[in-house]
Every structure is written in structure tokens, then in C-alpha cells.
Symmetry: C2
Subunit: 716 residues, 2 copies
Amino acid sequence: MTIDTLADAPIAGSGAAPARRSALERLLSPRSIAMVGASNNPNGLGGMVFANLKRSFKGPLHPVHPSDPEVMGLPAHRALSALSEPVDLAVIAVPALATPEVIAQAAALGCGGAAVLSAGFAEIGDEGAALQAQITAAARTSGLRLMGPNCIGFMNLHGGVMANFALNPAQPLPRAGGVALVSQSGGFGSYITTMAIRAGLRLGWFVSTGNEADCNVATILRHLVEQPEVSVLLACAETLRDPDVFVEAAVRALELDKPIVLLKMGRSPEAARAALSHTGSIAGSAEVLDAVCAQYGVHIVHTMQQLLDLGLIFQDGRRVRGRRLGILTTSGGAGVLLADDAGQAGLTVPELPAEEQAALRALMPTPFYGNVANPVDTTAQGLARPGAVTDVVAAMGQSRAFDLMAAVAWAEASSLIAAYIATYQGDERPFAVLSTDYTEALQDAGLPTYLDPRGVVQALAAVARQSLDRPSPPGAGTIQLDAARAARARAIIAEAGEERVLMEHQGKRLLAEYGVRVTDERFAADVEAAVAAAVELDRPVAVKIMSPQILHKSDVGGVRLGLRGADAVRSACQAMLADVAERAPSAHIAGFLVQEMAPARVEMSCGLRRDPVFGPMVAVSVGGVLIEVIAEAALLRPPFGLAEARKAISGLLQGRLVTARRGLDETECDALARVMVALGQLALEAPEIEEADVNPVRIADGVAIGADALFALSKP
Amino acid sequence: MTIDTLADAPIAGSGAAPARRSALERLLSPRSIAMVGASNNPNGLGGMVFANLKRSFKGPLHPVHPSDPEVMGLPAHRALSALSEPVDLAVIAVPALATPEVIAQAAALGCGGAAVLSAGFAEIGDEGAALQAQITAAARTSGLRLMGPNCIGFMNLHGGVMANFALNPAQPLPRAGGVALVSQSGGFGSYITTMAIRAGLRLGWFVSTGNEADCNVATILRHLVEQPEVSVLLACAETLRDPDVFVEAAVRALELDKPIVLLKMGRSPEAARAALSHTGSIAGSAEVLDAVCAQYGVHIVHTMQQLLDLGLIFQDGRRVRGRRLGILTTSGGAGVLLADDAGQAGLTVPELPAEEQAALRALMPTPFYGNVANPVDTTAQGLARPGAVTDVVAAMGQSRAFDLMAAVAWAEASSLIAAYIATYQGDERPFAVLSTDYTEALQDAGLPTYLDPRGVVQALAAVARQSLDRPSPPGAGTIQLDAARAARARAIIAEAGEERVLMEHQGKRLLAEYGVRVTDERFAADVEAAVAAAVELDRPVAVKIMSPQILHKSDVGGVRLGLRGADAVRSACQAMLADVAERAPSAHIAGFLVQEMAPARVEMSCGLRRDPVFGPMVAVSVGGVLIEVIAEAALLRPPFGLAEARKAISGLLQGRLVTARRGLDETECDALARVMVALGQLALEAPEIEEADVNPVRIADGVAIGADALFALSKP
């Protein structure tokens, strides 16, 4: 996996651009800006955006207007082409039909990039799509990078760039900080920006990608993850274009320990329809995306509130060494609710050591009706003594018995809030406050505040996940393609005829090449050969009909189980031929597969599919009869190793597949993991395999045996 | 099930109480109040509560103070006993040790009830528990009802009663409305009351139950559900005492169509520990509670925010006839997110009819970059024309293509908000707004406002659930106890020896009495009898060792499957005897059970357990080897009928057990439901059955057969 991509490569031939700055960098961190469509009308889009640019940008700023000599006090040019030297960024807010000319001028001038705020492109149908294709092609040819079209622009507070109408010029600017927000949807991005500011997020960056003709959420994440001032990346996306770039960004985020939090929109079919009409984008499978995020350590959230909650907790960059949560509350009930959520989120709420309890107890009045174990519940009574607030919060803050802390506040309780702030600032551990409202004091201090107990705990649990459960970034040596093995695989695949499927015995040979243990079996071209094979195997056998036209053998009476002895096998073969002749008369019968009966305590299934967004995905699930009833699969994107496969299996059914009585033991889990790894290698070495199913993988006594296999191939 | 309970029965012998008002009614809707511990110190508890009483109560109000001649301007009595006539409600805020004397005086005076705000009872240990038992016994004897102790009192705005310190006297009173909130935890109740007011809930009632020595959450719900001014009941509980009263309240709520929403606290072991120390209460099983709530139509929520969200949507009392959601947004992304959540919450987002789309389209500018299908996304552009806001919202409001509506607002967008309010008030359908903040205009209008898209949709989905999925209140004829059958059951149960278990063949006879189909089988006292039984059955058989000391036969080699012919059966019996002699040497062998091999496509399990809170619960789950791996059970509390059992089975594995390929067909689902009903009847007719397991129930070809059975009995 390479880290340098086109996204950040310097663009050759971009004329006047400084040699060291890529076009994307010029677009996003411009040193000079022009705005085509800037306007003196403060209520129009062109006026709002230009006012935003003017209030923030310290470098050269050029309005372009066809007739007005100046815009908001700055001298205007009649056209972009009239500028004497290139600008890094051209902001474009003209009618869609006028954009090709402006893009052409920007390219000719040698600009770095253009933010196209105009709407009327792919989102409105074929005509708009053609227009979009036209400006995209023009930009590609010249090396100009595009943001949008149909976006609301971007904000880079570290660079003083407010090239957007996410906020109107009268709204105060957010506090600049380490949080970057990337949103495909402009309107929603604007909405969430407002909510983020309210919640106390320090947004340094907001980027809306709109129709994503060139830059998309992945491109922007890939760029921002490298920016030193960015420490947290929040993304809202309806679709993920450039999955490889997204994975690269995720891997870099792992290496740099910068959390990425993703809110995926358009999960349900109806939402996907809305998304399609909204930005002309097609949503991939939500399950695949979740799996990819889990594999590369991206935090997936399901609501806007969760996106904000996680952004807020991550912005101070604190990490933990353990999962022990300390809870300080004046309300027993709030303590219980926080402890509840902690248990469900994987945090522990251990009792404080006896001496710490005693010390806290000594600060309380007598009689004391609260609790000093953890949750520490002072009740209102415990804080009534003058100075008690400071003492109790300080004592709690000094405890080494927990790794993260949650505390309850009332928005009006200023002395309590002051005590929390002092403890927060004197400590390095993550700390979150549950309050009845956001308060300026807490936001000034940067102490994360939540209005719902679950928000507090889910956020703290995310810090634990980021600190303790982050997958290792995949090393350079992960992909080990084996050319010789691939050649052998291709030879087997070549046996497939026009149907583009491998029969079971062929598929099993393919699996065996990749180290998967399969049933001991013999292919037999006719009945007597099948009888001979059964005699040779000398144990109860299954006999299956082999035909490239019969994918589901048992549906047509093509399977007989538990046969013993020549007579039984012979009559079974004859009966099968009769059944199949009746139920699949046009099938060409290649012969019989005679195989041992593999024991099974548990039947699993391993499969391979190709996702339209992320490509090959290997699945593992409970197999056999119940496969569609249980319908829970773990997915991995190749390349991956045994450790990832084991982890995926261990996560099935909330872990019970490997922990419950009669579930898989360690050896069996490893054996199953090897089947997954084999399918992952096959997916990369034999891209002509469209789809594979090894179902069931029969597991018993420490052994996993592929007992059936189906491979479907792409057309040559 | 009777509706009238002690909770509402008039208390005999309560002296001066009006004949028609129960003691509980007098406590909660008092016509006269005294407060013992009222104080002139406005910052103390006694001063706060008395100031609250004084600002709200219109009837006679008597402070009781040992020395001050008046409290806050009202003449004080030196003791409760000094009052010339009984009051309905005595509010008590004196040190715990002084409460027995006050309670005695209240009883002697003939008060209806006492709200004991004092702490220092069961929550602090044995000494406090003894004190609590003392005042409880004194109240019981006299007919006085108790709220608390260790509670923060209650608020009944319809009756002008602010007998609490949930709000301080300076805080404005909530708008009185149809929402009642009952919370075991006082502090958290106070917290959530603050949040509820902020969110726009119109709280008519708030009751904190504290240690629940007498009144508990169930008692209060049972009382409040009958109050005409109450239309929504919200409850936070750490434990549920009086489960029968809770179920009665739920049944009445079903009959009256008043939603109950329950936030159960103390689900995790750690939270349960905190809850135990907090109110001295023991938490029951969260799974059982969830199941009981589902069975009786109580809405379970998991966070404080959800409790508020549902309370808010229910307070206007609107109901729906379908699940079609209309979405109006200015932000495509917000529309997608709302549609997403709708899909997951079971609502649909159908496209509007072509003519309605055309009408909306006609209101938009040209070119138009939004969407009129649904979500209707006007974009900012679509609302820019003067009057567009009114026209578009009105057009949307007139559509009959949806049953519920969600719309997006910005807190600053006053014309949009005004248009929403007009549509809301001119319509009878549920309508919720997603906004960037709560606004006075929306709250004045009672239009439910949410700050998170998921909150909007989950609330609307709850209205659909309440309107369309409410279980029927159980009818009077549900329980059909059959004395003759019960006698036959008791005869079989009498065969159990000291081990208090039934052997499989005995358990199967018990099941057969209740109409459960079991394997065709013969009990055989010795090997030759077993051989004879196998010959008689004349098909492959299973043979199992029968011993009251052997509960898990296969663990000791006590099961042989698929035997055919006398020789095979004889040698299997002998081998089993040898195995068992070695692995369970002290077991007394009663004989052998020879049974047909029942076919199975799917193995299920039915069981019976007794929950410490809710009593008998019948469970159904996937059975066989995977039972602990899958570990998902549906639970029902007897009595219940076939319809409830079918519904429980149909809910397993997100419905896939009955919808997926190779899952249960309708006949099989019914057959399995009959096993559940049988266990439910057994639980009621034979209370000595502690626990039962019918695992596996082997299901194939439309038939469900109990293939094993284990019954454990209570000691006589």
C-alpha cells in the first residue's frame, strides 16, 4: 500500500505554482484567492461568501465581477483572466452554464484549484452530469483541482479561509482547534457545523465536497490527516468514492493516532434513494463499510449527536491506559445510569480502594447518606459544607484507581464547575461532564460537556477504543502474492466451461492449493467408478452428482449421505441419476463425487464477494441450515492475516461463538481463520473469481473441513 | 387479573378521611397539607420545600416547627399532633431518628399519607433498614400511605402541590400538561425534570419514590394511569417492586391508550451494585423486564434522552393510521439521515404521488436543484422567493401521502417555524421538527422539537408503535386453569423422588398431558425390555439411560442414537451401563428410555424459569448444540395465548427464524407456540415446577416434537 497518491502529488506543468506546493494544498491552504461571482448583495450567495472571505483572509483577495468596479470595498476584475498573476484558489459562484468558461480561465491562469459552489450538475440529471463531466475533464487535463460542484465551500481557520456559506457573515467564527469536519452534503454540513459550535467543538476545518467531481471525502481526509494542526477527523458521507484512498487515510490515521469518526448516511434503501437524487451518488453496502472501518480502526457512528460526542471527547487528544471509569455525582440515579452505560460500553466501574473511600468519607458530613465506593455519590448534602466541593473533586481527581472520569454538574452550579475545570486542567486523563446545559466556563476550559448520560460514556469508551483497541497499521509485508501458486490456481480455473463455475471437486482442489483442508474424496466419472471409490475410502461416504449446470445439488436430489458398502453406493448413484434426469433434464452430468462424511459439532460458512465500492470481501458466518436464519457475518477486506481473521471470528455473535459452551475452541478458530486467509489470498491472486462459498465448513474436534465449495467466475 | 388493588382501595378505619377518597388519593391530591420540618431558612431543605408548597398550594397549609411561631408568614404548630384536624398530606423533613414519632402523630391524627423526604434509612445499612421497617409497619397498621423515605417529594401541578425540592423555589414552574414522570431516584428525577422542562415537556406530575417503603413506581403508575389529566407516563426505575401492580398499570394503560415509557436503570452488574447501595434495592433481570414490557406494550428506552424524546412526542396525544413518513428539509443531507433512521425504525418514506410532486415543483424556482419526491428537499434556494415558505409548508401539510411528518428548521428561521406551527395546528397527524435549538415559539405551540435526527424518527416511530402495534389487553378469559388436568399433572409430579426432578419419560408424560407432541417412546426397566421396546417400535431408535441422578445423560455416555435391530440395542444398553457405572457410579439406574429418532431441520428449545421479580417466564430460543452460542431467547409471562407465543417466536433473530429460507413455516411456528403455551399453563397449574427445559424441540415437515425434557421441582 503506498502512502503517496495522486491526491498529494505535485502537479507537473501547473505553471506559476510554487514547486513544493501540490495543487490540492494550494486549493485548501491558499496564499491568494479570487472569487468569481462575488457580489455587493449581502443577502445573496455571492455576497455572503465574499463577506466571509473578506473577514478572515489576510492574503491577496480579488473579487471578480462583470460590471461592478469594486466589491465590498475591494477592486474587482471583470474576469478571472484579467488577473495579472495566478491565485492559489478560485472560488466560483456563477450559474452552472457559465462554469466551463471560468474553469478554463482558472486553468489557463495557473490556479491551484477551484471551489465550485454553483449547483445544477450531476444532481439534476443527464444534462447537468454532462456539464459536470466537461469541467472535470478540463480540470484533470490542466492539473487544476476541483472542490464540488454543488458544495457550500470550505473553512480553514488555520489558514484564515472562509470560502463558504456554511456560516453567514454575521455568525461568530468557531474557536479554531484540532477538529476537522468533512461532509459530502453541504446543507447538512452547515447544520452540523452550527451544532458542533454549540456543543463546544473547536473546528479548525470544515470541508463540503458536494458532487465530488474531483475531490471527495476520501481525498480530503487523506490530505487533512497529514496536517499537523489536525488531530481529529469527522466525516459525513453518503457514498465513499476512492475506497483505496479512504483506506490509506485510515491507515495513516492509525499510524499518527488521529481518530477518524465516520457518519455514514444513506444506509436504508429509502435513504439511498434520497441520497441518489441528492448528489447523484450510489451508496455501497453499509455492512461492508462497517467492516472496513472496524478493520482499519475508523470509529463508525450512527447519529449526528454521536459524531459530535466523539469529536468533542477526542479534541483534547487524551488517551488512556485502562478502562476503569471513575464517576462523581450528586445524584445517585445519574450515577447508576452512567455505570449502566459504562458496563455496556466495555468500561469498568471498580470500587475505589478502601483508603481512598475512607479519605472521601472523611470529607462528608455525618450522618452521610451517599456513597464513596464508585460511583461516588456525594448527594447534595455531601457538598453543602463550605469548601467541600473543592476538596471532594480534588480528592477524586487524585485517585489512581481509574483511567477516565465522568462527573455530573448542573449548569448553575458554578463552584462545582470551577472545581471540575481545575481537576481537568491538573490531570492528563480523559474527563467528561454530564450537565443540564452547555456552559461558557466549561467550553472555555475545553472540558467536554454532554447533556445525556449515554453521550458521556460512549465518548469515553471511544477514547478507550482508540487507545487500547486500535488495530496495528498493516505492515508492508502483509501482501504475499505467490506467483507459482497463482499459476496453479489459474490452471484449475481454466477447467471451468461456459457456465463459468467450478464444480465442487474442482473448487476443493483450488482450496487445497491454498492450504484449506477439504473432505477426503474421489471424483468418479461413472457409477462403477463411484462404487470403486467408496470401497477404496472404506468408511461411510456421501455421494454427490457433479454437473456444471447444477449449483444446488440437494435441490434436485443430487446428494446421498451416509452410504456404506458397494451395493448401497451403486443403488444410490442410480437413484440419483434418475432423480436428476427428472428434475434437471438438461444438465450435463460429469460424474460423481464420493467423499468421506466429515464430522461436525458446528457448521460454519466462509465466502467471498466483490463489493461495488470496496472490492473483494471475505465473509465468515454460521453455516449449514441456519445460515440465513442467523444471517450475521464478519467481513474482512484482503489482504489480511491470521490475526485479523481470528479477531473477526471472535467478534461473531457478540463473542459467544468462541466463548460459549460447545462453541469453537482455539484450534478450531485458527483452522477456520486459515480458510478465511486462503479465500483472501485467492481473491487477490485470482481476480476472475467473482464469488465463492465454502459452506459448510464442518468443525469438530479441533479440525475444520471444507465440505462443499462453489466458485463463480467472471466472464473471460 | 383484577384491576382494583390495594393501591386504590379506600382504607378502612382511616377516621376523618372522606369516605370516597382513598388514602393514596389524599396523599397525592391533598386538599390540606402540613409540613413537619418547615423552616425559615430559604437555603435549607425545609425552607426550600416549604417555599415551593407555599407558592403553589391554594388550600390550608400548616407549617410545623418546634420553636418558630410562624414560617414564611404562616402560623406554625409546634407538632403535628397540635393540629386541630387531620390534613390529607403530611410532608416530613426531619432527621431520620425523629420520623417514627412524626409518623405516629400523622397516623393518630388521621392523615391520608406522608411524604418522607428524610434520608438515613435502608440506603445506609441495617440500622436505617430497621428504622424504615418501623415506620412502614406503623403506617401499614394505621392505613397511612407513605412516599419515600429518602425521596425528594412530588409535584402535582393540577392540584397545586409542589411538595418537593426537585426544583428550587426560584425556578419557574413547568407548564402543566398531560405528562407524568415517576422516578425512584430523587436526584436523577430532579435532573431529568430540569431537562424535561428545557425540552418542552409539559409535566403535570413528578413523583419521586425513593426507598419505596410503601408506594413504589408501580403503585404510583397504577394510580396515575387513572387520572384523567394524565395522558403519558414516564418512569425511571432501578428495580420494580410489585410486578403484578406494574402489569396491572400496563394493562390499564393499554385499555386507556396512555403510553407508558420506562427507563430501566441498573442493568449492568456494576450499575446494579451502585443501585443497591443507592436505594437498597435489588435489580431483577433486564431481559425479563424488557420481555414483560414488550408483552404489555410498555415502551422501553435506554437513555434519558430517549425518555424525554418519547414523552415529548406523546404529549399531544396524536395517533397514526399508517407508517408513511413525510420529510421536509432544506438540507439534502439531513433528509437522507432522517430517511435512514426511518428505515431502521420501521417507518417508510414513500415517494409522493406525481401530481403532488408537480404541485410542489411549481412552487420552486427554475432551475431547481432540490427534490420533491420525499424527502422533499427545497434547498435554501427553494424557499428564497417571498411567500415560498408558507406555500411549500402548506402544500406539504395538505398531502395525504403520509401519516407522520418530520421537518427541518433552523432556530433563527422564524418564518419557517411559523409556517410549521400553522401546519401543525391545522393537522391531526404527528409532526416533529429537527432544529438547531429549542425555541420558544415551537414550545409555546407544543410542536415537538428535537436536536438530533435520530431523536425525531425514534419518537415518531414510537407513535406508530403505540397506534398500530399495541398488544390487545389480555381478556378476562385468558387464564383457563383446568383442575382435572392439574390433578393429573400433580400425580405425575408425585413420582419425583428426593432429587426433586422428573426423569425424561416422566417429564414427557407431563408434556403430553398439556398437548405437547413428544417422541414415540417406551420406558424399559431392563436391557431385555429395552430390546423388546425397540422391536415393537420397529424403526431406528435412540436409547437413553434413565436415572434421577443423571440430568445430563450424554455427559456420562448415557445416550445412543440411531440403533436398529435387537442386537444393536442390546449391546448399546450394555455398553451404556458400563459407561455410566464408571462415570456416575453413585447414580441409581431406573431403566432405559427407547424412543423413535425424530427428524429435525431446526432444533429449538422451550423452557420455564422463575424470575425473582416477575415470577414464571416461558422462554423460546434456538436449541441444540448452538443454544449458548446463539443465546437469544424470547420470553413470555403466563398467562398468554397462542397469538402471543407466535408473536414471540416471530420476533426471534429479527424475524428471520420465520422468514428466512429453511426457517420455520407457519405450521411449525404454531406447533412450537403450542409448546410455549403448554409450559405457561404448567407454570400456573403446577407452581412446584421451578424450572423446565424442553431441549431440543425437533422441528421438520410441519411438526414439532419434544425430544428431551427436564423438570426441576421445588422442595415440598
